[in-house]
């Protein structure tokens, strides 16, 4: 009897494992830079790392925060949080997950010697202490309520101390070890990254046996590969391709509003942008709806608030500045510029931004505002706007934690001028106050109220021309099931089924 049972079980296991042997091929517009979360903070890398690593807290697709590697947490006092780690979790190299790994990871992220681009995410941490193998305490410098959303970001993925120390400079390219649903197999630069199923994953069953990421820079070709079935998923399709593929029965388009806002900023230190009437006038002078339609072609929605509506704390009820050139002319005249003025708009060579610059130039030209377009190389762009050398500039901001604190603080607080994020050099004492209150207030209702008021002031004072919140259109072959796109762009692939 026992033998028959054993045979049945073995047979069952054989069946289940062999039935689930399929590869999911994903194409994106660029290759990953590194698979070390402390080395880079770019989207293509994060999308791959999402499959390999886990974070203490998990931010689901609906932006709810649920336990990840930390199965529970408690706030011991105003500045101290205690995290209890899940037991029995192992890294891909067989090492068990320990609190020391968490301490190692967060310390390394914070260490100036690491020069991690995402270090700014954890500047609120004062110290990380190991209590026991499965318990770790995090103390903050000041009460910081958004902490949990920060600990859900892929940049805070938990690394294995042993693996990282042993690999040295080769970590992230040759050696990649995480606790996630997929293990790193190989990386042929600019060609493919291959990941294989981690059968011991704590988070559930990993359905695909393999995931392959392919970088295909040309958008048109990405769409073609999807059409011919050479790939299963394409992240980010060109707008016209997406529109055309919607009609294709073999393809499904998965649309998701992202956490990214795009805006045109005014350098309020430089006249005439120090006059709010001028800023409001320009807001009325640009036909944003047409920009959305013609430039983004359906891959964006008009922004009314400075943060995406998917972000916690976003103001749902702000009125957009209506397109009204007459009103704009009036305001300009009131501000003392009836005949317009000369100015410039800066951008980097991002094709969408350049198109926006051209439209702005044309439309402001009708008001007598002579706008020169200045295209800068990305590094120079960031440096020079940080130094306040610009007049107007086009930029985007991704509220990666989906929390209003991240979306507003760096952009509008008086302590964040320049590189940290506030390139308009605008500030307002009440907004400062509200933002400081917001990050320390644990009552979500009260927090929301603070952020709503702050956004109302920002909206009225218009240090920005609010443009759009982008939507991402991902293409999938119709036989792929289970794909739920994440607003942050780090889509999870472990539950995909291929029919």
């Amino acid at each position: 009897m026992k033998r028959i049972l054993v045979l049945l079980v073995a047979f069952g296991l054989l069946l289940s494992s062999s039935a689930l042997a399929y590869t999911i091929t994903v194409a994106q517009g660029a290759d990953a830079v590194s698979l070390d979360p402390h080395r880079t903070n770019d989207q293509p890398s994060a999308r791959v790392m999402r499959q390999i690593y886990d974070t203490l807290v998990v931010q689901q697709e609906d932006l709810q925060l649920v336990p990840g590697l930390a199965e529970s947490w408690t706030q011991l006092d105003e500045l101290t949080w205690q995290f209890r780690l899940r037991g029995g979790v192992t890294f891909h190299n067989g090492e068990p997950l320990r609190a020391s790994d968490v301490k190692f990871t967060l310390d390394r992220l914070r260490d100036p010697a690491t020069a991690a681009p995402a270090a700014f995410l954890v500047t609120f941490i004062d110290d990380v202490t190991v209590v026991d193998d499965l318990t770790v305490n995090i103390t903050t410098k000041a009460p910081f309520v958004p902490m949990l959303s920060h600990l859900a970001h892929t940049a805070t993925s938990i690394l294995n101390e042993k693996a990282v120390t042993a690999a040295g400079e080769d970590y992230g390219t040759r050696v990649v070890v995480g606790t996630g649903p997929f293990k790193f197999v190989l990386w042929e630069t600019a060609s493919r990254i291959v990941l294989e199923r981690n059968p011991d994953w704590w988070g559930g069953e990993v359905l695909p046996s393999q995931v392959v990421f392919r970088p295909i820079p040309e958008g048109t070709v990405r769409a073609i590969e999807l059409e011919t079935g050479a790939i299963d998923i394409s992240y980010g399709l060109e707008p016209l391709d997406a529109r055309r593929l919607e009609a294709d029965p073999n393809i499904r388009i998965a649309k998701v509003e992202t956490l990214a806002t795009h805006y045109i900023g005014f350098n309020v230190q430089k006249p005439p942008f120090n006059d709010v009437r001028v800023r409001r006038a320009i807001n009325h002078a640009i036909d944003v709806d047409t920009i959305v339609e013609v430039i983004y072609r359906g891959q964006a929605v008009r922004a009314t608030a400075p943060i995406s509506p998917r972000v916690f704390g976003a103001h749902p009820g702000l009125e957009p500045f209506e397109y009204n050139p007459e009103l704009a002319r009036q305001l300009l005249a009131e501000a003392g510029h009836p005949a317009g003025f000369t100015t410039s708009i800066w951008t980097n060579n991002n094709p969408i931004r350049m198109q926006i610059a051209e439209v702005v130039q044309a439309q402001l030209g009708e008001l007598g505002i002579d706008v020169k377009i200045q295209v800068l190389e990305w590094g120079t762009y960031l440096a020079d706007t940080a130094a306040g050398l610009h007049d107007m500039f086009i930029l985007g901001w991704v509220s990666v934690t989906a929390d209003a604190d991240y979306g507003l603080y760096s952009l509008f607080h008086s302590t964040q001028f320049g590189n940290p994020g506030n390139r308009t050099f605008w500030s307002h004492p009440r907004v400062d106050e509200l933002l400081d209150l917001g990050r320390a207030e644990s009552d979500p209702e009260l927090r929301l109220a603070y952020y709503l008021e702050a956004q109302e002031i920002i909206h009225s004072e218009a240090p920005w021309l609010f443009l759009v919140v982008t939507t991402e259109q991902n293409g999938l072959r119709a036989n792929i099931e289970g794909f739920v796109p994440h607003p942050a762009g780090h889509h999870r692939l472990y539950n995909l089924v291929r029919n």
Binding site: L240, D241, R244, V294, Q355, E358, Q361, A362, L376, E377
Partner: protein
């Protein structure tokens, strides 16, 4: 031209013109170029619309009565932008080739005339420039100096220096051995005078061939660099950047891509046909087949 050569029968010049006129490729090419130059000079008068006038509601409309070649994503008239783009391309071509000719020609002239260590030194520079593929060199220069049409002209100009240095040097070497040069030297003419009175005019023919071919190459390189976003900046109409910005629309509004592409093909083809024909006609070994 030396008096000795003028005496010897139907001058090479006359022969050359005859050969050129009989070559239909050259004639056609020259005609096309003439049209191009005219269009570039009279761009403003010939364009039905201002090249940068946007009409967002009319974005990506197909070729029709109102817009002969259709409109691009901003609703700008493609035909007008192509005409103005021709002006830009010719400007870029002439200036960059001009730079290459001036610097390279001078280098070749000096190297060929004086020989010796100067020759070795100058040719070493040329070899170094040749070791770096022209496009890579141009790419790096533009990336370092920043994206702009002017930097593209400089970069492409520098990349073409070796071509002119070598051609002028070779031509100078053949001329240098001639009797009349030795005679002039013996008579006490200054080097400079000899160079410009005797050497340069005789080196002219191969150089002209190279100029035409280099123009074609320069326009192609500039279009390629603009395609990568390193050249013409918005809203300047330039064929390469027009091609680049319209590429996401190639499957649904191909005219925004096809017509600038065609413009490039026709121009570069015409230049190559003329240059090629010139090279054939000037080839001293050529026998009338």
């Amino acid at each position: 031209m030396s008096s000795a050569a003028a005496v010897i029968g139907a001058s090479p010049r006359r022969k050359m013109w005859r050969a050129l006129r009989r070559n239909p490729r050259v004639v056609l090419g020259a005609l096309v170029l003439a049209v191009l130059v005219l269009a570039a000079v009279f761009a403003d008068q010939l364009s039905p619309y201002p090249p940068n006038r946007q009409n967002l509601r009319n974005s990506l409309s197909p070729p029709g009565a109102e817009h002969l070649l259709g409109t691009d994503q901003f609703g700008r008239d493609v035909l007008s932008r192509i005409i103005h783009g021709g002006r830009v391309s010719l400007q870029v071509g002439f200036i960059s080739v001009g730079i290459a000719l001036l610097i390279g020609g001078l280098m070749g002239l000096l190297a060929g005339y004086y020989g010796g260590r100067l020759d070795s030194a100058l040719m070493w520079i040329v070899d170094v420039l040749l070791a770096l593929p022209a496009f890579l060199l141009a790419l790096a220069i533009v990336a370092a100096l920043g994206p702009s049409l002017v930097n593209v002209m400089i970069a492409v100009g520098i990349a073409f220096i070796p071509v002119f240095a070598r051609v002028t040097r070779a031509a100078v070497l053949t001329v240098r051995e001639q009797d009349y040069v030795a005679a002039a030297q013996a008579a006490g003419s200054s080097d400079l005078r000899i160079m410009f009175k005797h050497v340069v005019p005789n080196a002219l023919s191969p150089v002209i061939v190279q100029v035409t071919l280099a123009l074609a190459g320069a326009i192609l390189s500039a279009a390629g660099l603009s395609f990568l976003g390193l050249g013409a900046q918005p809203p300047t109409a330039e064929w390469g950047s027009m091609l680049s910005t319209a590429r996401p629309f190639i499957r649904d509004a191909h005219w925004a891509v096809t017509f600038p592409g065609l413009a490039i093909v026709i121009t570069v083809l015409a230049l190559n046909m003329v240059g090629d024909g010139l090279r054939d006609a000037l080839d001293p070994r050529r026998k009338d087949a």
